[in-house]
């Protein structure tokens, strides 16, 4: 639908809605820059005066934030790469091959995206313990795969189906076999999409709390969400450090989302809208 250009009213509404939506995060950012007397000022001190970076310093120096950040990065990169490695071939097979069982398998892929994590937590806990992967980063990566791999197949299949069939047929006429068509023609064309899909899986792992909280008891193995959750609730919450850590954890995710939103939206809406 062609958009009718908006008037002043539209702008006013857009600015208002943006302000309301941005407020919780903006408030968190402002609080992270306040000293404790300001955080606990009554009535509220709305702007940080003076601005302080002490919580950012504390979270790094006293709470070993870098370790948690690195753990998060390792788990997330591992999840992203493994998901794509597992998902790319089936995605291609789904878009370009006919084979018995394809429909059933595809339905399974769609269904599996929606399964709750809670169903997996007890069996995974027992399983990871049995194979000695509890309290290890690879163990958590394995636990994330059932949630990232199906959606990877799903997204990637949509990117493959955007490639004009003629391109691949031309390559076959030129003597490429099916695998060469995949590796030399189709794969290079979906690489940007594939990177987006890997980052989508990366971001799932980056923010995940339930499994990380339960499968990583040792401090030196924990991820950023676990650290942040531990700031909450013991006697009193350390809001300053909590929010400094929160801002730092959100920035990379936010940047990736803003840059890649069109890929994410295309992948997701293809699921909801196609047809």
């Amino acid at each position: 639908m062609r958009a009718r250009s908006g008037g002043v009213g539209t702008y006013g509404l857009l600015v208002f809605v943006s302000a309301v939506v941005a407020f919780p995060f903006l408030w968190l950012l402002l609080t992270s820059l306040k000293t404790y007397p300001q955080i606990y000022a009554f009535p509220i001190a709305y702007l940080p005066r003076p601005m302080t970076g002490e919580h950012y310093e504390n979270v790094v120096v006293q709470h070993n934030f870098v370790r948690y950040f690195l753990n998060s990065a390792i788990v997330s990169v591992g999840t992203g790469l493994l998901s794509v490695a597992l998902g790319v071939l089936p995605a291609y097979a789904f878009t370009r091959f006919r084979f018995p069982g394809k429909r059933g398998l595809f339905i399974t892929v769609i269904l599996c995206q929606m399964f709750p994590q809670i169903v997996f937590i007890v069996p995974f806990f027992i399983l990871l313990k049995a194979i000695g992967l509890i309290d290890t980063l690879p163990g958590v990566v394995i636990a994330y795969l059932p949630f990232t791999a199906p959606i990877t197949v799903w997204f990637t299949a949509n990117f493959f189906s955007d490639i004009p069939l003629e391109l691949e047929e031309a390559a076959r006429i030129d003597g490429c076999n099916r695998f060469q068509v995949f590796s030399r023609v189709a794969l290079p064309l979906v690489l940007p999409g594939l990177a987006a899909v890997a980052i989508y899986a990366f971001l799932f792992a980056w923010g995940e709390l339930m499994f990380a909280l339960s499968f990583l008891p040792s401090q030196d193995k924990q991820t950023v969400p676990v650290l942040l959750s531990l700031f909450v609730g013991q006697y009193n919450t350390r809001w300053g450090e909590l929010f400094a850590g929160s801002v730092t954890a959100t920035i990379p995710a936010l940047v990736m989302f803003v840059v890649l939103q069109s890929y994410f939206v295309r992948g997701l809406t293809a699921g909801a809208l196609k047809g």
Partner: protein, 297 residues
């Protein structure tokens, strides 16, 4: 990849099948090993407590008064979040669909920011907004004399439910808005033009032209939101921990507490299996709708 010679001799077996099966095999193993097997195991764990009889867990859970209470909570949490996310999502999609300079910026703030914020960060940000003494909500309400004393948002059963639903609406509406916006952009110009030429006003254009067009997307999005909301754990876990006194406990937070606070894996698996059955029903409906539309296309 050359198909093996025997494959060509087998009647009905086509060479491309072999290639396809080789391509999907590792993934199928993951599906079997990391999805089907754990789910089956979870069901097995739930069926019999240690030293108990078959289905003891189910008998105990289903007759526990807490089960009915948590069911009510889960219903309120889901109905509230889904309704508000639908309304906010659709309204904001309609707003963003109007042409305006600087749309990219508004989109980045309205659609991307809540979506990109990690769950835990959204949870602590809202927990702080609702803080009784130092939270913004109480401060604003006091400043404008709308309340006489600070409200314990997360300390009262009804307010706590409202508060987590409100926070969840913020976190989740952007996904719905994105689906609706994408659908709106697919509405052919002719039909809205035709409505306008016929003298339809804004409301009747929306009601009789856009809404029917959007309906399939709405159904699918709402079902998806129901599933995500029932499954959603971190917000409640961090904001209220299921409290006060279980007022915001849903199936998922209850199953988590049974397993990892009380270390009763068998009971936890029972609650999560029941949750799984509910999700499976919705997910099957979604998948059915979805494949139906794909095949129609």
């Amino acid at each position: 990849m050359r198909s093996p010679a025997y494959a060509e001799k087998t009647r009905g077996w086509r060479p491309e099948w072999s290639t396809a099966y080789v391509m999907v095999l590792p993934f199928v193993l993951v599906l079997a090993g990391l999805i089907a097997y754990p789910i089956a195991w979870n069901i097995a764990i739930s069926l019999r407590p240690e030293g108990g009889r078959l289905l003891d867990n189910y008998r105990q859970i289903l007759s526990d008064p807490l089960f009915a209470y948590v069911t009510g909570n889960t219903l309120m949490w889901t109905a509230g979040s889904v309704t508000l996310q639908f309304l906010a999502g659709l309204g904001i999609a309609l707003l963003l669909n109007r042409g305006a300079k600087g749309r990219a910026v508004f989109r980045a703030i309205i659609l991307v920011l809540p979506w990109a914020t990690p769950d835990i960060v959204a949870a602590v940000a809202w927990k702080w907004l609702y803080n009784e003494l130092y939270g913004v909500f109480n401060d604003l309400l006091l400043r404008f004399h709308l309340i006489g004393y600070p409200i314990a948002w997360l300390g009262d059963p009804y307010l706590a439910r409202l508060s987590v639903i409100n926070a969840n609406t913020w976190k989740g509406f952007s996904l719905s808005a994105m689906f609706y916006l994408a659908a709106l952009q697919g509405v052919p110009d002719e039909i809205t033009e035709a409505a306008r030429v016929d003298g339809a006003g804004r409301w009747s254009t929306f009601r009789y032209v856009l809404l029917p067009y959007l309906w399939p997307t709405i159904v699918v999005t709402v079902v998806l939101t129901i599933i995500f909301t029932i499954n959603y754990f971190p917000l409640i876990y961090i904001m209220t921990g299921g409290g006060p006194a279980e007022a915001t406990e849903t199936y998922v937070t209850w199953a988590y507490r049974l397993g990892f606070t009380f270390l009763d894996f068998s009971k936890s698996a029972t609650v999560s299996t029941l949750t799984f059955l509910i999700i499976l029903a919705f997910a099957s409906y979604y998948t059915w709708q979805f494949t139906k539309r794909q095949e129609a296309a």
